[in-house]
């Protein structure tokens, strides 16, 4: 599948902001299942310099400063990306989850060592009895790790209601678990916390998902959105993506921006503004198949 993605983030300030400093994680990574054909980011007002660096997790991060007074700031990220069908996996053939956890606790290979960084709690995820207890029924002794993870994903999808108004950036995993409501980011953090509580490695994935209009209707401009899901580590298949919000294993319609321990490591756009009064944020994403 080949997509053209346009992601526009726009801030409007009630008063002129004298200075703003920003960090954006918007550049799509190359992975075995996706190839970036074109990428460009365009910022207005045009900053003096945009600095690019590769972060601890291998994601591309851009930082820039707007130093003149401005009442509006727009970041337009454009890309053309080709996604491939993910190889089909046999969940039943993945290793025993306890064995997997064991390997991660005492990593023997470079791959295991690298995966092991995702078994610990992080600023926005927890290791907590209540969360682990929620995961436990899906992980009886000896169960293949991917089978358990898929079941956990389905349970989150069934037990939880998608509700934009239920949570904010500050809502904790425990609150989400108790309320049984949230958005993609919350479900991902919950699922990650649950897996880490069992000693498994899980990481947070930021990206896009193509949405299709209801049959017979035309797709609305800007109706797509940035999305989040997670990856779980299995010794056989490496990192396997899971989307608890949609109860599916991501495939060609999912485009990955990058990953980290949680949302905080790969926040798409964040910044500090001097002045500016009240901020008004609008985000629009358009993701279209191209031939």
């Amino acid at each position: 599948m080949k997509y053209s993605i346009e992601h526009i983030t726009e801030y409007a300030y009630s008063e002129p902001a004298s200075l703003s400093y920003n960090e954006v994680f918007l550049q799509i990574r190359n992975t075995p299942v996706q190839q970036v054909k074109q990428y460009a980011v365009d910022i207005t007002p045009t900053p003096l310099k945009v600095l690019e660096r590769v972060d601890f997790f291998g994601n591309v991060c851009r930082t820039y400063m707007v130093q003149q007074p401005h009442q509006k700031m727009r970041i337009r990220s454009n890309c053309i990306v080709e996604t491939l069908k993910h190889p089909s996996l046999n969940p039943g053939a993945s290793s025993d989850w306890q064995l997997t956890a064991q390997q991660l606790a005492e990593p023997a290979t470079e791959e295991q060592l690298d995966a092991s960084q995702y078994i610990y709690k992080s600023p926005l995820t927890v290791i907590d009895k209540e969360v682990t207890a929620y995961a436990a029924p899906s992980f009886p002794p000896g169960r293949p790790v991917l089978e358990g993870a898929l079941e956990l994903m389905t349970r989150i999808f069934t037990d939880f209601t998608y509700d934009k108004s239920a949570t904010t950036v500050d809502t904790s995993v425990l609150q989400v678990l108790r309320k049984k409501r949230g958005v993609c980011q919350d479900f991902s953090h919950l699922c990650i916390s649950a897996l880490r509580g069992l000693g498994l490695a899980a990481r947070y994935v930021s990206g896009y998902l193509e949405t299709l209009p209801p049959p017979g209707k035309k797709k609305l401009v800007g109706s797509d959105a940035s999305h989040a899901w997670l990856s779980v580590y299995t010794p056989e298949y490496g990192w396997v993506d899971l989307d608890p919000t949609n109860n599916m294993m991501p495939n060609e319609q999912h485009v990955i921006i990058g990953w980290g321990r949680d949302y905080g490591d790969i926040t798409p756009v964040k910044g500090v503004v001097m002045g500016g009064g009240i901020h008004n944020l609008s985000v629009s994403v358009d993701m279209n198949q191209i031939k």
């Binding site: 983030t9 801030y11 004298s18 200075l19 400093y21 960090e23 003096l48 310099k49 600095l51 660096r53 972060d55 601890f56 997790f57 930082t63 400063m65 130093q67 990593p107 470079e110 060592l113 092991s116 960084q117 078994i119 610990y120 709690k121 600023p123 290791i127 998608y162 934009k164 904010t168 950036v169 958005v183 993609c184 980011q185 998902l209 949405t211 959105a225 940035s226 999305h227 989040a228 919000t245 949609n246 949302y263 905080g264 490591d265 926040t267 798409p268 756009v269 964040k270 910044g271 500090v272 503004v273 001097m274 002045g275 500016g276 901020h279 944020l281 985000v283």
Partner: protein, 834 residues
């Protein structure tokens, strides 16, 4: 050589002051080893025996007073101003031979070298992790491991520039390392202060014995920093970044700033442009090249760390990555504070240095290893459990339950097996426990350590290990040189450096604080004068009803929100008892924002923020305002008089010590702005009253405006509105007039730094010119018709309203131009959709 100075020698004398506590039984402590006095202590015990306990106590008192005067004991959190403060000084020093010091120093240097290599490795190639020398938990599960510092190489190549290690003597007398301080050398100011004091109160001894001086170390630090500067460094090239005056250690930062001659700044003083760091000053931005930070890693860049702390400078890390700033110590270096790291040090040392670790770590077991966890579980009583990953400044003080945590978070420390040291208590000399904080710095040739230590002491071991600085004591450590020491005075350094660094420019924040200091001073003075005038009238022979200006005075208080509104103006005086209660509230009620006590607290707070700019005497008169704030059993009128006196003496002293400097200009501008605003209000109310009530109102107005004598001497006539207004508004020779305040403001504005030579360009220049002109052109002859009976006051009210608004605009323009008080906010794009 075993020095033969047995205990009996000392205890046989009645003045022997070590005998009471049974020091001899503590065979391996200080000053006795195996029941015998250590040779290096002889000169000191002899001296102390001669001095006697009372003599020693007297010196201790002097030391306490000196520390209090220097502000070291001042605790900003404690509004009463008499808090215990950090690391109060126990004057009785500890001693060490030069030989032992040299041996110890070799070990300290080795440790510094290893730790620097560890920092470089964990934020770089991570070989120690990949080769299994450091377990993954210590990095991946460690909140002190800053992923933002990945691949961040410091300009100048040094990760650790100025740091400290805490050591103790174990029961065999050998030093062991208890913990490390990688972010910044906490306590460096206190060791300086302690040495200044001990060298002064024991000056007779200090001159005679060759005690290694500390000044060389500071000199080395300065030289080390200097070589990293550009060819034309600004005054702000090296700054000390403090968390602000609310910090309990603020004294230390101010002292170091004065001593080293580097300006003391706070986060909001700095800004990043084009990945370079600048200090905001009145005349513009000044380049900063080195920051000695007293902020923790996670507070440095609010942007990178996601902690929601309002400290830090946005974009600082980017400036580090671009090698445009040196941060001391490099961000992320508190990784070396990781408590569990200590247990791996012997092996890390062998791996990266190819040699054995010279100073052993405190014995501890990290529970992330199964064998260790099992051992600890089986021998629980031998250990203190602490968080092994979270460094001490973040760690909660409560004990850790090993079973409720993930075991890799647990560090089981053996109980601290430290030897005793003599500590001076009100009951004489008693055994105490001590941690020795040694300070190190990077030089061109490697690491160098200060021959001395901040000895942190306590009467019990647990306070020593986990107590906070305000319930610990501190001592000085004297390293006795075996060769004559260079006479290098700490105080000398202090004198010379300060003067060089006082330039004509001023940090915006400092100017801002001076402006507010001026406003609060004026506000407090004015309110006290007003209330005092009311009190005088209430307590005088005349019945309050017959005092025409009393309702006027009360109205003024009411306008300022200091008294509740009155239903009927004529009834306010009855009953007087109610009024007295209300006045009392206006003075002392802390719940009322506008009360005098709160204004005085605001005066103190603003003064504290610029304390490094105030002389000792200035500061004392500010501190004396405590009398009002605490309010003993003093008669109210006396208290008001005394407080006015204190405020005046501050103004007088400030005038002398900061005369005509930019700081003084800002303080005086604050005063003038406040006075002008008050004056406008006064006239406004006075004129209204004149319409509604008695003919004495003009007299009252002059009285309150403190201009009655001037009026009488100048006009020798009855009170007429035209000359009264002329005197109060237009007459620039009357220091109480509005015109005078505006003329002063105009003069100040002319002397502020400006980017262009053109006059009347800035909004504040335009505003002051407009006000001054309208006052000068005010035609009192035609503003109203002749004949007192039918005066048209409306144009006058409109004039006063305009002036009031212009004054507020003027203040706003000053703030916008010179003082950056714009709040910073952070924003995050969120995921709202599926």
């Amino acid at each position: 050589m075993i020095h033969n100075s047995p205990l009996a020698d000392v205890s046989s004398k009645s003045t022997g002051i070590f005998d009471a506590a049974g020091f001899s039984q503590h065979s391996n402590g200080e000053p006795y080893i195996n029941g015998k006095l250590k040779a290096e202590w002889k000169f000191l015990t002899d001296y102390l025996s001669k001095l006697g306990l009372d003599g020693l106590k007297e010196r201790q008192l002097r030391a306490t007073r000196m520390r209090h005067d220097d502000g070291a004991t001042y605790n900003p959190f404690d509004n009463s101003g008499e808090g215990a403060g950090c690391w109060s000084l126990d004057t009785l020093p500890l001693v060490m031979t030069a030989k032992e010091w040299r041996q110890l120093e070799t070990g300290l240097v080795q440790r510094a070298a290893i730790l620097e290599k560890i920092v470089a490795d964990v934020y770089g190639p991570q070989k120690l992790l990949k080769e299994g020398i450091i377990p993954p938990e210590l990095i991946y599960a460690n909140p002190g491991f800053q992923r933002d510092c990945h691949k961040m190489e410091p300009a100048g190549g040094r990760y650790l520039n100025l740091f400290a290690f805490d050591l103790y003597r174990d029961s065999t007398g050998k030093f062991r390392v208890f913990r490390d301080h990688g972010s910044f050398p906490a306590g460096l100011g206190y060791i300086l202060e302690n040495r200044i004091i001990t060298s002064r109160i024991f000056s007779d001894l200090y001159q005679k014995v060759d005690i290694c001086r500390l000044a060389n170390f500071f000199h080395t630090v300065q030289q080390g920093l200097q070589k990293n500067l550009s060819l034309t460094p600004t005054d702000s090239a090296i700054v000390i970044l403090s968390p602000g005056q609310e910090s309990p250690f603020y004294f230390e930062y101010a002292l170091l700033s004065r001593y080293l001659g580097y300006p003391l700044v706070e986060s909001q003083d700095l800004t990043v442009r084009d990945s370079k760091v600048y200090q905001k000053k009145l005349a513009g931005l000044e380049r900063v090249e080195i920051i000695i930070r007293y902020l923790h890693d996670e507070q440095l860049d609010p942007f990178s760390m996601q902690t929601g702390s309002n400290l830090g400078v946005a974009g600082l890390f980017q400036a580090v990555r671009e090698k445009n700033i040196i941060i001391i110590n490099s961000p992320g270096s508190s990784f070396i504070d990781t408590p569990a790291l200590g247990t791996f040090m012997p092996q890390i040392c062998r791996t990266i240095m190819g040699e054995d670790l010279l100073i052993a770590p405190h014995p501890a077991r990290w529970c992330g290893r199964k064998e260790d966890k099992n051992f600890v579980t089986a021998h629980r009583e031998l250990f203190d459990l602490t968080n092994g990953l979270v460094s001490h400044h973040l760690a909660a003080r409560e004990p850790i339950d090993i079973f409720s945590k993930q075991s890799h978070e647990c560090l089981a420390r053996e109980v601290l097996d430290s030897t005793v040291v003599p500590s001076l208590t009100p009951n004489g000399i008693r055994p105490g426990y001590a941690l020795y904080r040694f300070f190190g710095c990077a030089t061109e040739y490697g690491f160098s350590f200060m021959p001395g230590a901040l000895v942190i002491s306590s009467h019990d071991r647990s306070t020593l290990v986990s107590g906070s600085a305000d319930n610990q004591m501190s001592k000085d450590l004297w390293v006795i040189s075996d060769s004559p020491v260079e006479p290098f005075s700490l105080i000398e350094g202090m004198k010379t450096v300060v003067d060089i660094k006082r330039s004509g420019d001023l940090a915006s924040r400092t100017a801002d604080n001076f402006l507010w200091l001026g406003r609060y001073l004026e506000r407090a003075e004015d309110a006290i004068r007003l209330i005092r005038a009311i009190y005088h009238r209430l307590t005088s022979e005349t019945r309050p009803e017959n005092s025409p200006e009393l309702p006027f005075l009360l109205n003024l208080l009411r306008m300022r929100g200091m008294l509740p509104p009155a239903a009927n103006e004529d009834k306010v005086l009855r009953p007087v008892s109610t009024l007295v209660v209300q006045l009392n509230d206006a003075l002392f009620r802390k719940e009322f924002n506008t009360s005098v006590v709160n204004t005085l607290i605001a005066v103190q707070n603003s003064a504290r923020r610029v304390r490094d700019r105030l002389s000792q005497d200035c500061w004392k008169s500010i501190k004396r305002l405590d009398d009002f704030i605490v309010r003993g059993n003093i008669d109210t009128l006396d208290l008001l008089d005394q407080t006015l006196y204190n405020l005046n003496s501050f103004s007088g002293l400030a005038m002398e010590s900061i005369t005509r400097s930019l700081a003084w200009r800002f303080m005086d501008m604050g005063r003038r702005i406040e006075r002008a605003l008050n004056h406008v209000e006064l006239i406004d109310i006075g004129l209204h009253r004149r319409c509604s009530s008695t003919s004495n109102a003009l007299e009252a107005l002059l009285e309150v405006a403190d201009s009655i004598i001037t009026y009488r001497s100048r006009y020798r006539t009855r009170f007429m509105i035209e000359p009264v207004l002329d005197l109060l508004l237009v007459d620039e020779t009357n220091p109480k007039s509005l015109g005078f305040q505006l003329a002063q403001l105009s003069e100040h504005i002319e002397h502020l730094p400006r980017s262009t030579d053109q006059k009347f360009k800035t909004p504040e220049e335009k505003a002051i010119l407009a006000m001054l002109t309208s006052v000068r052109l005010l035609d009192l002859g035609t503003t109203w018709k002749e004949g007192e009976e039918e005066i048209e006051l409306e144009p006058m009210y409109a004039f006063l309203d305009t002036i009031r608004e212009q004054l507020l605009d003027f203040t706003q323009s000053i703030t916008e131009h010179y003082l950056s008080r714009i709040p910073a906010t952070s924003h995050f794009a969120t995921l709202h959709n599926k």
